[in-house]
Symmetry: C2
Subunit: 350 residues, 2 copies
């Protein structure tokens, strides 16, 4: 991971306060709503009467990421992005985040710098401020806890609970790539364990590997929707998998849903790799998580506004709750959707 | 910890979403500024143009707490309280918090319920809303990450950076208790390891043990100061130890400080236990952390307003930066203060 020519700096050399100073001294505040960032007991913000959105996520080594194939800079970037995604999923603008790290002494200062460089790159790309945090030791492994803040006019905010029968279900981008990227990385990691000199050729998999290692949140979607003058009736981001998110959305809105297999947006790269791994692409798309696309419902009268937009695909429609939540297959079969979650796809395939 | 008569529920039985639903379903929102709490991609808040304070802390098992003598309910309570303390340290009002947990599968559902019951008790006692969070598995141990939010009128907020020469240094309550409580608990834990049937008698130590296990944040101090019409020039909370916090305050304010040993507020129980453990009470008070009292500076003209208030003690005065940061001992000796931190007191004593 690091160049062996230069000696690495143990965390103990800087100490907790020294480390925080070292990592945060170059941070520049960009947002008007940030009045004071890192360096006091609390950050000071002001949103001028707009609503404030707050979301929090925790990533644990060995559960959410594997440093065997996840470079620390990418990990830092991804940890921020997945939190910002929750703010965009409220149809809001992300503005700030805090980050808390617990790390074991096996991480040198240079490793934490790498992690921070990824987080600060995300801050730059998404125009959000890093306003505070905590860094501490852990008995084992790395834990990253991030809280994202955002703002929106009260009337613009979209919850999970507003979908109503006959609304259309829309998704941004394409799905399944992050999961298949993970499959490729895990396969290469196994090869590496057996033969550390193996040079993996990830080039043919660059799209899906990037979807896994450096996902982007759909900052653009709330902006596009605003421009199109479409306010979704309900919205959620896709972190755990399409099935699971549809079920959340229906549960919160007290509705059912019909989802059409033939409409599901798959990138050709995902189809190819699914064939290579002998996985059914619809199963991957429904249950593979971490795509961080936005899933939302719109009133039918707004259909013409979004029709033909390359970022958006209509994939289903909302029904009464008592009709249940179903996938309509290409063959016309009606299958009840269940939230399987991405950890269990392989078990089902076996 | 738990009654063995009833079988415990493994976390896997509820799953992540089931667990969060289970833990949060009875939460009632109390704050006007909370428009939507747990249950969507993000919480929705509105502070009506007041400033928003945000602070975050992470507690790791084996580093910040030991479940051998820290009951989970107390741990949940303390984890919330130490975060709220950072908001009060801005002279602000705490209003909400989020909580993220990473826990290994050795914790049953009942353990997480205990932890949550402590957090919800803190929410009740401090009149703050639990508005969101994340619960995930970890490869080992328990990690608690909390982000606290608060509000204040812009003009009321007190930073660490406003102290000026001749200001008085004031502290709330008394110091050193939490550290000595920890010493007692660690001693009993060692006895327990040797003889699991030993019944510890903690009664004589109840004050200091409670300071360690169930600390309270000084929610009352910003209110008292408001009533007294005193706005501190700088403020910080005492989490790491008085020495360390004084140094932070001076560094941020670009000043020096004279601290008077004879003024330092010690509870008689702390003095007694220091003698029992053969520790110097001034050393304990300077370096023992986790008291969560507030430390602040006031203009001399405000002295008469706080004089005689049983919650407040003047312990020093601010000097020019080039005079340095010193303790003036009872014998009139001038000793430079260094931030030793509470992990190192014993080493120094040995």
């Amino acid at each position: 991971m690091f160049d062996d020519k230069n000696p690495l700096t143990p965390l103990s050399e800087l100490g907790e306060f020294g480390l925080i100073d070292h990592l945060t001294k170059h941070i520049k505040i960009k947002r008007k709503s940030t009045k004071l960032g890192v360096g006091d007991d609390a950050a000071i913000l002001n949103y001028e009467n707009e609503d404030v959105l707050v979301s929090t996520d925790l990533l644990a080594e060995g559960i959410h990421f594997n440093l065997g194939y996840m470079p620390l800079k990418h990990l830092g970037y991804k940890a921020v992005v997945v939190n910002l995604s929750d703010i965009y999923a409220m149809n809001a603008e992300a503005t700030q985040f805090t980050v808390s790290l617990a790390l074991s002494s096996r991480f040198p200062v240079e490793a934490v710098e790498e992690l921070y460089s990824g987080m600060l790159l995300a801050a730059k790309n998404y125009n959000v401020d890093l306003i505070g945090g905590d860094t501490t030791s852990s008995k084992s492994g790395l834990i990253i806890s991030i809280t994202a803040l955002g703002k929106a006019k009260s009337d613009d905010i979209v919850k999970r609970s507003g979908a109503k029968p006959n609304d259309l279900l829309v998704v941004s981008g394409d799905l399944g790539g992050a999961y298949m990227g993970l499959q490729v990385l895990e396969r290469e990691n196994e090869v590496f364990k057996v033969n550390p000199n193996a040079q993996p050729d990830l080039e043919p998999y660059s799209y899906i590997v990037e979807r896994q290692l450096k996902p982007e949140a759909r900052k653009d979607i709330p902006q596009i929707l605003k421009k199109l003058e479409v306010k979704p009736t309900a919205m959620i981001d896709i972190s755990d998998g399409l099935s699971s998110e549809i079920i959340h959305l229906c549960k919160n809105s007290k509705t059912g849903m019909n989802l059409f297999e033939e409409k599901l947006p798959l990138d050709p790269a995902v189809i190819t790799v699914c064939e290579e791994f002998n996985l059914d692409s619809t199963t991957v798309l429904l249950n593979g998580g971490e795509d961080y696309e936005l899933l939302f419902t719109i009133d039918q009268k707004d259909y013409n506004k979004i029709k033909g937009n390359p970022n958006l695909t209509v994939i289903g429609h909302v029904t009464d709750a008592n009709e249940g939540i179903h996938l309509i297959t290409r063959g016309g079969e009606k299958i009840e959707l269940i939230a399987r979650g991405w950890n269990n796809i392989k078990e089902e395939e076996e």
